[in-house]
Amino acid sequence: MIHDILITLTVLTNFTLVATSRVNKSIQVAAFQGVLLGLLPLTLGLGFHIHILLMAVAAVVVKGWFIPFLLRRALAKVHIHREVHPYIGYTVSLMLCALGTGMSIVLAHNLPLKPGGPFALFVPAALATLFTGFLLLVSRRKAITQVVGYLVLENGIYLFGLMLIGDMPLLVETGILLDLFVGIFVMGIVINHISVAFDSMDTRQLAELKD
Amino acid sequence: MSEFPFVHSLQVLLHILTALLLSPLIPGLINKVKALMAGRVGPPVFQLYYDLAKLSQKQAVFSRTTTWIFLAGPVGTVAAGLVAAMLVPFGQDHAPMHFQGDVILFAYLFGLARFLTVLSALDTGSSFEGMGAAREVTFAALAEPALFLGFAALAKSTGSLSLSTMLAHTGPLFRFSGPLVLVLAGWAIVYMAENSRIPVDDPNTHLELTMIHEVMVLDHSGRPFALVLYGASLKLLVLGALLVGPILPRNAGPLLNWLEFYLALVFLAVVVGFAESVMARFRMTKVPQFLVAGVLATAFAFLLMLV
């Protein structure tokens, strides 16, 4: 089944994301993940209804092209290539990511599924992606990598949302599309300001406000 | 007593006269005993009467720093002492004034006297008199509980809050028993401290730095000083009546009762004189321990009552 392959690929991209040190590559991988997820609704056998098409196109365009474009533009300004000295090293990150994926499977096991759907892998994959996004947010120092993490986190939610796209398209569309557009847009602006004000994108410098 | 209002009135009159006139005799007796013990002839027994008569003729000298309080001390001491004398039974069963709770008033009248004496000492601004005043209040803080615990024991025994009943009707359980001995022992200590007798204080010295009462009245003279001396003797009498009260049998006629009372007072004076002759004054730091012994004695008396 195609959707199972796509989901497996998504989970694999998660591991790539936590293991990569080059910022540019992590943007690429996130974009690839976005495309994967964007294509996913077309493979679910729900037909080519206007909702489904809209979702697919929007996701592919936004996740696969627009956001990576924004991020690359910000990256070009500050001349950063590598994420050096993350809070959590790459090996440990990989292990944590594996652990998270395992936990996601356990957790998903506790959540019953509607019988007969094609969604067996969706819940663990969604939770694993969510966790990966969180892991990136927590472990990385560069603001831009953190935004990538946020993007991955959103991908996880999107993946879960696809489970409902057939029965409740309205809810999913309103939520997810808005989230994608506005959230990332504002973040792009903020990243812009940060690079101007701090002349770098290391969030270590963003720790002056504390107790 | 209600059967013989006339006898009763007579007794009241006798009581008042005793309180007013007889007290200066006690210091005289004590001093006579002390002199005899020391092998001297000593001053006459009525010496204090002569002193008082002479002092009341003399011109008084006042310190420039003093205010009216200076005079209030001696005046208040005598006034309070005389009123207190009306609350304690002498030779008869009941004091001229007796009511539930008079025992507290009795104790507080002495407190009033002390307060005014101390203030009149402080009024001079002399550091010697200040020192005496400080000692007076310090020792009183220990004497007071001993007095009250003794009252508590008597109250527990008699079920009464009136001094007359407590002293004159101590009850069969109490009389000549262990608690009574302890109470009397405690009160004897209080008696010596309150009256500034040896071993707490030495009434004969005036310039030694170890004194309490005498140093507080250094600046008094003339009539105020007469009041001071009279007040001190009054205290000896009234507290003496308190001390001998519980052991008087009071079972004979009025006349004999009074006789017993007077004899007991003489006996007390002799004992005090004897004690002063054979004992030395304590070091000032030992005095609190002595007083604590008094508190403990009366406290034990109370506890023994419960057994």
Binding site: N110, L111, P112, K114, L130, F134, L137, A143, Q146, Y150, L153, E154, G156, I157, F160, G161, M163, L164, D167, M168, L170, L171, V172, T174, G175, I176, L178, D179, V182, G183, V186, M187, V190, H193, I194, A197, F198, T203, L206, A207, E208, L209, D211 | -
Partner: protein, 496 residues
Amino acid sequence: MSWYLIVLPLIAAGVAFAISSPTWRVRILATTAILHLVGVLAALGGWGMLPAGAWLGLDALGGWVLLVISVLFLVCALYAPAYLALRPDRDGRIFTGSLLSFLGLASLLAQSQHPGITWVAIETTTLATAPLIYFNHNRHSLEATWKYLLIGSVGIALALLGTLFIAYAANMGGVEEPLLYGRLMRDSALLSRPWLRAGFVLTLVGYGTKMGLAPMHTWKPDAYGETPGIVGALLAGGVTSCAFLALLRIYAVVAAAGEAPFARELLVGFGLLSMTWAMVFMVRQLDFKRLLAYSSVEHMGILVLGIGIGGNAAKFALFHLAANALVKSVLFLSAGNIHRSYASKQLPFVTGAIRRTPVSGWLFLLGFLAITGTPPFAPFISEFNIAYTALTTGHLWVGTAFLVLLGAIFLGMSDTVIKMVFGTPSAERVRTPYKDTFATTAPMIAALALVLVMGLWMPRPLQVMLQSAAVMVGGSDPASPSEREHARRAIDGGQR
């Protein structure tokens, strides 16, 4: 439903953003605020007549929250002209526009009967308020904005996932779109329990982040500390109320499905944790704006604690929402004035505020006393009743912990407040030209007066509405003696 409540502020926001005259901009702001309040009051008349299938409309709960936000907004809007006049260096366009958009979005949220719309409204309020936090355009405000956005967005993403979980729970049970709250509650027996529980956990963490429940509150001190007082007031009283409302809606569904014990346990836990965390950071807190931020964390804790205890406490948690919002406006606005006068918000530098800014100094002191539960101010009523309900409905240890924490927080907070308000202004500190004027203090005085009135009296229709709102969130039983007395008095025939 009242479209105009949503549309009017949004149009006004557009206009304010477009025009160039600062004078007209603040006039639009104030006028919109007044009109909005009037509109809310008019719309409240119909809270009981919400049609069953409506997607948008005011019910008792939403009406109560919207009323609070509208009043709070009015206070801030009346304060804004004087404040903006003091800040000619900053562009008022984005500021005014953001404020007005927030009002519109809050109106949308309050009227939303659909979890999706609720979520959208929350998301957009986050975005609308982000520029407000960045108002000062310096490094610190940027850092605060960055933290606010990222933590807030993550939280909201979790809330979205939680909403989707609940939708899936409904989907499994065969409940069809549209997933209106009313329908979810009516068909609550059909919802899948594991999904519902997981969904509640996710929304609790998500909206809890937005509310500022410990330990997800960490953006709060930074954001509140770096914004102007007026924004702090709006965030602490308005945005948090929005998130709380969103959480309450989900809680109502969960409670209707019979999962209330599970949810209440979580709410009580978060409540106590928030109060404890706030207490830890309020002790020896030298920065008075951060102090207020932690106080906000504390009071968010009290809100969820009240809901978690349930019954009478839930009703007074709703009451506390209003009390807290209004008092926080007084505190943040006066703190802003004091900050302006001293050009510092740190303790060793700010002393003797009642000498330099007498009105603001007194208001800050009174606000502090009010928020810590001093009668006859309104927060006392709610804190008293929450404690009472906890102690008499079997939550003995919760009630005890609540009172102990209130005491400890008072201890910590009073230390800073007294050092700041009393004494002599330090001589070395430069004196800025700022002075208390009528325009910078009158809105606060009005707000404080309202808090005082609320502590003593409340109009009958509002009481009825509050009671029905409480019933929606599990506060059905009139457990308090005051309630019983009231009932008895109603029987007696109203002998006033």
